[in-house]
């Protein structure tokens, strides 16, 4: 009787690697790694360069839009003017062999970049929740000056416990 190797059950790992927040001028204001080994370690200076580069690329990707935006037609029977066309969004999801990056651009131009495993699901929910935490614990902090690096203990703690919950699921 021949021996058959036991089937390996593949459990997709769901890991959030790191979070980067870029202000509306393209400066890096927050950078946190949650899982070592997912991404290469790079220096803070490289992170600053990366944030600036991404800011520029994001603007170009919005401009490259091949679909011409169409204005919403006015409701028939009323005297309304046609609505403004929806502005084209820039890069939203970037896929590579080793990771996946989701970008959330807020209305004021702050960008949240979340680096995750390629198989990660529900990243938009996660990123919206992080935005909530940012609104609650960074924007409502009276000692935080706008567009400056985020140094808020309570934001760090809440974020860490939220991400740990996801990574240990």
């Amino acid at each position: 009787m021949s021996w058959t190797p036991p089937k390996l059950i593949h459990i997709p790992r769901r890991t959030v690697f790191s979070l980067i927040i870029i202000n509306k001028a393209g400066g890096l204001i927050y950078n946190k790694t949650f899982h070592e080994g997912g991404l290469n370690k790079i220096s803070t200076n490289d992170y600053l360069v990366l944030a600036g580069t991404f800011h520029g690329v994001h603007a170009i990707t919005a401009r490259l839009n091949p679909v011409k935006p169409v204005a919403t037609p006015p409701t028939p029977g009323t005297n309304e003017l046609p609505g403004r066309p929806e502005p084209s969004s820039g890069l939203e999801v970037l896929e590579t062999e080793n990771f996946r990056m989701q970008c959330f651009n807020t209305l004021t131009g702050t960008k949240f970049l979340l680096f995750t495993e390629t198989t990660q699901t529900n990243v938009d929910v996660t990123i919206k929740r992080i935005y909530d935490l940012y609104a609650d614990y960074v924007m409502k902090n009276p000692f935080y000056s706008l567009e400056m690096p985020i140094r808020c203990d309570i934001f760090d703690r809440k974020l860490l416990s939220y991400i740990r919950e996801i990574n240990n699921r």
């Binding site: 170009i60 490259l64 939203e92 062999e97």
Partner: protein
């Protein structure tokens, strides 16, 4: 699935081939502001920056596959000789990496590399825009749409 455009960049970062499958502009709409050569430069800048960013973060063996915006999706494939293939499609399409790979083996290698009349370097697109390659590519893309 809709394919909007397709670009090939050589190892000297020059755009050697560009083709667009955009529907003809209706007379009522505003004229397109940019020319396709401007667009090719922007596309190259984007994929070049993203590729470098990805390799810095994911390691040297990592490869940038695609990115998606709210309106379109851009697919990227790079051969070991730094020949870069880029395809812009609608957001709903699946990964086009093997499609780009197929274009490389079945069309580029067959009709451009094996063509004895084509130069080694394709300056200004010389040797790429031959009939067989054009026809094969157009048929291949239209077959997918």
């Amino acid at each position: 699935m809709v394919v909007y455009s397709f670009y090939i960049f050589d190892r000297h970062t020059e755009c050697v081939y560009v083709k667009s499958w955009m529907p003809a502009q209706s007379p009522g709409t505003a004229p397109v502001l940019s020319t396709s050569s401007d667009d090719a430069k922007l596309v190259f800048g984007t994929v070049f920056s993203l590729r470098n960013m990805v390799r810095k973060l994911g390691g040297d063996d990592d490869a940038f596959i695609s990115y998606r915006t709210g309106q379109y999706k851009l697919h990227f494939y790079e051969t070991p000789a730094n020949l870069r293939f880029v395809m812009v499609t609608d957001t709903g399409s699946a990964s086009m990496r093997n499609v780009l790979h197929q274009i490389y083996i079945n069309l580029w290698v067959e009709y451009v590399v094996k063509n004895p009349l084509a130069p080694v370097e394709h300056k200004g697109g010389a040797g790429v825009n031959n009939e067989l390659f054009e026809l094969g590519l157009d048929q291949f893309i239209r077959g997918m749409m």
